[in-house]
Structures are given as structure tokens and as C-alpha cells.
Amino acid sequence: MRKQKTDDVDQLWFEKHVGPAVNRFDAVHSPPIPGLNELEQRVKRHKQDVKRMLWKELALFWLTAIFVLSSMLWLLDNSRMWFAVVQTVFAAGGIGYVSMIFGRRMGHKWKN
């Protein structure tokens, strides 16, 4: 309840001492607004760019996946020992990467 009162006092103080200046600031800094057709062109262009980028990323993902899978199958066919070694290294790398990301996130939360 007391906090609410403090909030109201602060709100009234802001509206009286800062609000009018900010309103005037807004009034003199209104930007030129782009036309509807110009904006529509921009929206369409950006949507196309994003779509193109997503297709590119998807193609890259599949190429990498095919390369990794065929290498693994080739390795499995030729040397089971090396296959196990590579799998272990990949697993360790994956665990390390995930814990690094998780640790960074926790650190960020803690700092907040």
C-alpha cells in the first residue's frame, strides 16, 4: 500500500516536472513517415531475403548432414575402432559445448 502511494507520488511528480518537456520533445522530433507503397516494397523485399536465406541455410544443413552421415557409414564399414573413437570425441565435444552454453546462461541470470 505504501509502495503504491510512492508510485503515485513519483508518477505525479514526473507528469508535472518532466512530462511536458518530453511531450514537446516528441512534437518537434516527429520523423518523415515513409509512404505505404514504399513500405510495402520494403516488407516484400525483406520477406524474400529472409526466405532465400532460410533455403540457403537448409541446403547447407542437408549437405553437411549428408557429408557427416556418409563419412560415419564409411568409417563404420572400414574400421569399427576409429568409428568408436570419433563417436566418443563427438559426444565429449557435444557435452562440453552444451555445458558451456548452459553455464553462460546461468552466469547471465546470476548477474541480473
Partner: protein
């Protein structure tokens, strides 16, 4: 309002014209918010453009729980935070001072005045200025600000407290200097 809801539905379904109308209707509002949050004209222009591009990319995921303008402000605020962090890392403090001076000069040209309230607001760090503006100028609640800026509510409260305290101090000092 009804018109906005209809436009949002169309935009979410992929209608570019509807999205353009929404962006056009909110363009001034967005730019003015970013300009106040950054007190830097060129940065405000960049962040406004980046926000619009992000909105175009993410419109399909907009659920319509908040107003479209609130959604834009949320995106813009996060861009501002990123930019400020980057500037801090690259130690661009002098640039910040220069940009405030440039905004002051520009405002003086346009309204023949640079109120002390704006100077005091400009001297707050943007981390503090954004919650202060969102709460006391735009009327968002602390919970909404916490979600918009992606910071804990305790941080919002302390930034509001410090921000108002600093504003009061600056303006009181100025009043005293003027009277005494």
C-alpha cells in the same frame, strides 16, 4: 482498435500490405520512443529500421496478446540494450556525450529551448532511462516492463527508484541554482 486487430490478423497470415499499414501507423511512435531511449538521432534511425526488419521477420509469431505498438517497443528496447552493451565494450562513452549534445542542439533549433528536464533525462544511462520512460511516460506496469526488457522485476524497481531519485536531484539542484 478494431481496425488494428483486423490488420494484425491479416499481417500474421502473411499479408504484406496489412503489415506495411501497421508499420506506417506506428512509425512515429516507434522512432520517438527510440530517440528518447537513446538520445542519439542516428542510432534512433538505425534501431527503428532494425526493429521494422525484425518485426517483418517475426510477424508470424506475434500472438496479439499485447498491442502492436507494445510489441514494437519491446523489440526496439532489446535492440537498444544490445547496442548500448556493444558501445560499452568498445568504449564509446565520448560518442554518447557528443550525441546528447547533438540532440540538444537540434532540439534548440526546433523549439528554441532545451528544458532542464530533458537534460536530466538525457544524463540518465539508457538502462535507467528506458524503464523510467516506459513506466512514467507510457504508463506500463513494472511487470510489463520486466517482460519487455527481459530483466527481473527487482531490477526494474531499483532502476525506477534510482532514475526518479536522480531526476529529482538534478531538477532540484537546477531550481536552487536558479533561485539562489
Amino acid at each position: 482498435m478494431h481496425d488494428e486487430t483486423k490488420l494484425i490478423k491479416q499481417a500474421v497470415r502473411g499479408d504484406s500490405r496489412a503489415l506495411s499499414e501497421l508499420l506506417q501507423q506506428n512509425y512515429s511512435f516507434l522512432y520517438q520512443y527510440v530517440l528518447k531511449a537513446t538520445m542519439n538521432k542516428s542510432l534512433a534511425e538505425d534501431v527503428t529500421q532494425e526493429t521494422m526488419l525484425k518485426a517483418i521477420e517475426k510477424i508470424a509469431s506475434f500472438q496479439g496478446k499485447a498491442k502492436f505498438s507494445t510489441w514494437l517497443i519491446t523489440i526496439a528496447s532489446r535492440h537498444v540494450v544490445d547496442r548500448v552493451r556493444r558501445n560499452e565494450r568498445e568504449k564509446h562513452w565520448i560518442q554518447e556525450e557528443q550525441s546528447l549534445r547533438a540532440v540538444r542542439y537540434d532540439t534548440l533549433q526546433r523549439m528554441n529551448d532545451w528544458p532542464e528536464a530533458l537534460q536530466a533525462l538525457g544524463e540518465l544511462s539508457s538502462d535507467t532511462r528506458m524503464p523510467v520512460l516506459l513506466k512514467y511516460f507510457y504508463g506500463y506496469t513494472q511487470e510489463e516492463i520486466s517482460a519487455m526488457l527481459d530483466i527481473p522485476i527487482g531490477t526494474v524497481k531499483s532502476r525506477l527508484h534510482n532514475g526518479i531519485k536522480q531526476l529529482r536531484k538534478e531538477l532540484t539542484n537546477h531550481e536552487e541554482a536558479k533561485n539562489g
